[in-house]
C-alpha cells in the first residue's frame, strides 16, 4: 500500500454525465485517458498515483542504504535488481499519472514542496541487514495485498501498471522472506537481527493500509469510483492473516502480544497500531522524514545541470538537423 489517506475530490459536473460515468464503472468497464471523467475522479487519481510513484522513488533510499554493505555478492545483486525494479515502478506510475494531464516534474516539485506525500513506511530507518529482508517480506508483502486489489481499479493505465508491478513485487517479497529465513535459522546474532527487524517494522507495516475506514472520510467516493477496491481494514486483516504463520515458521516471537487466532472470526486478532505515531509521521516527524526529503531535494538540485545539459543538447541537435534539411 503505497498510497494512504488520499483525499477524494468533490465533483460538480453535469448529473447526466456523472450518471453515465458511474454506470460504466458499475459495469466494470475500464476508464481510459481520453474518455470523459469527472474532475474529482481525475484529481483523486493524480493524487493517488502520484503518491504511489513518489513512494517507489523515496523507497529506494532505505534499501539503497544497504546496497554497499550487502553481505554477499548474490544478496547485493538481488538488492540492486529489486531497487531497480522500484525505480521502474516509479517510472510506470509517473507515466500513468501523465495520461491524466500532469507532468512528472510537476509531481516532483509538489513532493519537494511538501504538497504531496509518499508512504509513511519509508520514514522508518533500515538499521540492520535483516531490515532489508523485512522490507521485502513485510513492506512489499503489505504493498502486494493492496496492489493485487488495485489490478481491478477502474482507471485502465493504473490497473495495467499494477499487473506488471505485482509480478515484480512477488519476487521482492519472496527474496525478502528468503533473506530473513537465512538469518532466523542462522547464528544467534543473526536471529537477533531478524527479531529486531520484525519488532520494529511490524506496526509501521500495518500502518501502510491507513487508518480504519470508520475514521476515513475519503473512502466512500473512491470506492464508488473503484479507485479503491477494498477497505483499509479488510486489507490489513488479510495482511495479518497471511503474515502471522510466516513469522511463526521462522521461529521468531510475534511482535504483538495481541496476535491471537480467533476461531469464531476465522481471523487473527491484533493490536491496532499507535495512530498518533502515524499522524506524527505524516506531519513530518517520523525518524527519517527530514533525511529522506533532504536526499531527494539534493538529488534534484545537484542534478539540475545534468537535466539542463541534456535539454540544451537536444535543442542544439534539433537546430542542426533543421539547418541540414
Amino acid at each position: 500500500m503505497y498510497a494512504q489517506m488520499v483525499k477524494s475530490e468533490a465533483t460538480n459536473e453535469d448529473p447526466a454525465l456523472l450518471a453515465a460515468f458511474q454506470a460504466r464503472i458499475d459495469a466494470g468497464e475500464k476508464i481510459e485517458p481520453k474518455d470523459w471523467m469527472p474532475e474529482g475522479y481525475r484529481q483523486t487519481l493524480i493524487r493517488q498515483i502520484g503518491q504511489h510513484a513518489h513512494s517507489e522513488v523515496v523507497g529506494q533510499l532505505p534499501e539503497g542504504n544497504w546496497i554497499t554493505r550487502a553481505p554477499t555478492l548474490e544478496r547485493k545483486a538481488i538488492l540492486l535488481a529489486k531497487v531497480q525494479d522500484e525505480a521502474g515502478h516509479g517510472l510506470y506510475l509517473y507515466c500513468a499519472a501523465e495520461t491524466l494531464g500532469v507532468s512528472r516534474d510537476d509531481l516532483t516539485e509538489a513532493l519537494l514542496a511538501g504538497k504531496m506525500k509518499y508512504s509513511s513506511i519509508f520514514n522508518y530507518p533500515t538499521l540492520n541487514w535483516a531490515d532489508i529482508g523485512a522490507v521485502g517480506w513485510l513492506v512489499d508483502g503489505a504493498a502486494i495485498v493492496n496492489q493485487v486489489a488495485l489490478q481491478r481499479t477502474s482507471f485502465g493505465p493504473y490497473a495495467r501498471a499494477m499487473v506488471r508491478i505485482c509480478k515484480e513485487e512477488s519476487f521482492h517479497a519472496r527474496q525478502g522472506y528468503h533473506a530473513i529465513m537465512q538469518m532466523a535459522f542462522g547464528t544467534p546474532e543473526q536471529k537477533a537481527m531478524a527479531q529486531d527487524a520484525v519488532n520494529r517494522l511490524w506496526f509501521p507495516a500495518m500502518m501502510m493500509f491507513g487508518p480504519s475506514d470508520k475514521d476515513s472520510v475519503h473512502s466512500a467516493q473512491s470506492m464508488a469510483w473503484k479507485i479503491k477496491i477494498n477497505t483499509n481494514d479488510e486489507l490489513r486483516q488479510k495482511f495479518v492473516d497471511q503474515t502471522v504463520p510466516q513469522i511463526l515458521y521462522l521461529g521468531l516471537d510475534l511482535p504483538d502480544p495481541g496476535l491471537v487466532w480467533n476461531e469464531a472470526r476465522g481471523h487473527y486478532d491484533f493490536t491496532e497500531p499507535d495512530w498518533s505515531e502515524f499522524y506524527d509521521v505524516l506531519k513530518g516527524n517520523g525518524p527519517c522524514n527530514a533525511d529522506r526529503m533532504a536526499a531527494r531535494q539534493k538529488a534534484w538540485d545537484d542534478g539540475a545541470w545534468f537535466r539542463d545539459g541534456l535539454m540544451a543538447h537536444a535543442r542544439k541537435a534539433a537546430a542542426r538537423k533543421m539547418a541540414a534539411e
Binding site: 546496497i67 554493505r69 539542463d308 542544439k316
Partner: protein, 282 residues
C-alpha cells in the same frame, strides 16, 4: 630529560629495501601459470566489483529517475560479472575460496583493480566520465578475451561483452550530450576529464604477469588495448567538444595492490558484515 633515541637498524636493511615496497602477500608468492591466471582473473573481477560498488552508491540519489534505473542496472551487470570472474579465480586458486571469500575477506593490498575505478564518484559528470573511460577500455578488453586460449574465460567474456556494449553506448552518448550541452555541463565534463585522465594510463601498462598471460594466449597484453581505446575516446571527446588533456602522466599501482586512500574506506563498508560476523551464512 628524555633519553636520546639512537637509529635502530637491522643488519639486512639493504636486502629488505630491495623487496618491492607496499606489496602484501602477493609479492612473496612464487610464479606459476596458475598463479598468473589467478592474478589476471582477480584484476578483471576486482575492476567490476569496485566499479559496481561505486556506481551503486548513487542508488536513489541520481539526477533523474531514468539514471537511477540505468545505474542500478549497470551495477547489477558489473556485480554479476564479478561473480563469474572471482568465482573462476577461486576455482583456479584451489584453496577453497569462492567469489564471496575473495570479495569480502581480502585486504586492500590483495585487490588488483585499476585505480580509476576506486576514484570517488564526485559529481554526476565525474561518475559518467569515469564510466566512459573505463567502458572504452572494457569493451576491447572483453573482445580480446573472447579469443582466450582458456575456454572458461572466453565464455565469461562473451556474456559480459553483450552487457558492456550497452554500457559504452550509454556512457559515450551521455559524455557527448553533456560535453556539448550548456556551458556549465561542458565545464563540468571537462573538469572530470582532467581529474580522471591521469588514472587512464594504468590500463595500458603491462607487468611480467600480463606478459606471461599474453604469451600463453590467455589474456591480451594491456599495451595492445591502447589503440582501440584511443580511437573510441578521441572520437567521443571530439563530438563532445571536450579537449583531451595533454599530460601523459599515469598514476599506477592498483593492479599490483597499491591503492589510493579511498580503497580502505570502500572496503570498510563493503566487508563490514562479513568481517563482523565471521562464519555466518547470509
Amino acid at each position: 630529560m628524555a633519553p636520546a633515541m639512537s637509529d635502530i637498524m637491522t643488519p639486512d636493511a639493504a636486502e629488505l629495501a630491495r623487496v618491492a615496497p607496499g606489496h602484501g602477500k602477493a609479492a612473496a608468492e612464487s610464479v606459476s601459470p596458475e598463479r598468473d591466471l589467478f592474478v589476471g582473473l582477480t584484476r578483471l573481477g576486482d575492476n567490476t566489483l569496485i566499479l559496481g560498488h561505486r556506481v551503486s552508491e548513487w542508488c536513489g540519489h541520481s539526477p533523474i529517475l531514468e539514471e537511477d534505473i540505468a545505474l542500478a542496472n549497470m551495477a547489477l551487470d558489473l556485480i554479476g560479472q564479478t561473480q563469474l570472474w572471482l568465482g573462476l579465480a577461486g576455482q583456479v586458486e584451489g584453496a577453497g575460496r569462492d567469489a564471496d571469500a575473495l570479495a569480502f575477506r581480502r585486504d586492500a593490498w590483495d585487490f588488483r583493480n585499476l585505480l580509476l575505478v576506486e576514484r570517488p564518484n564526485g559529481d554526476f559528470g565525474h561518475t559518467l566520465m569515469r564510466q566512459f573511460l573505463f567502458d572504452a577500455w572494457h569493451q576491447p578488453m572483453l573482445a580480446a578475451l573472447q579469443g582466450s586460449s582458456d575456454a572458461r574465460i572466453a565464455e565469461i567474456a562473451a556474456k559480459a561483452a553483450k552487457e558492456v556494449a550497452y554500457h559504452v553506448e550509454r556512457s559515450a552518448d551521455l559524455v557527448i550530450r553533456l560535453g556539448d550541452g550548456t556551458e556549465d555541463s561542458h565545464q563540468r565534463m571537462q573538469a572530470a576529464l582532467e581529474a580522471l585522465w591521469p588514472y587512464t594510463g594504468e590500463m595500458f601498462l603491462g607487468d611480467p604477469t600480463d606478459a606471461r598471460l599474453a604469451e600463453a594466449g590467455v589474456m591480451p597484453a594491456p599495451e595492445g588495448l591502447r589503440a582501440p581505446w584511443e580511437a573510441s575516446v578521441t572520437a567521443v571527446l571530439a563530438e563532445a567538444t571536450l579537449v583531451r588533456p595533454a599530460s601523459a602522466f599515469a598514476h599506477k599501482g592498483g593492479k599490483q595492490g597499491r591503492h589510493t586512500e579511498h580503497m580502505g574506506h570502500l572496503l570498510t563498508s563493503m566487508q563490514w558484515l562479513q568481517r563482523s560476523y565471521p562464519g555466518a551464512k547470509w
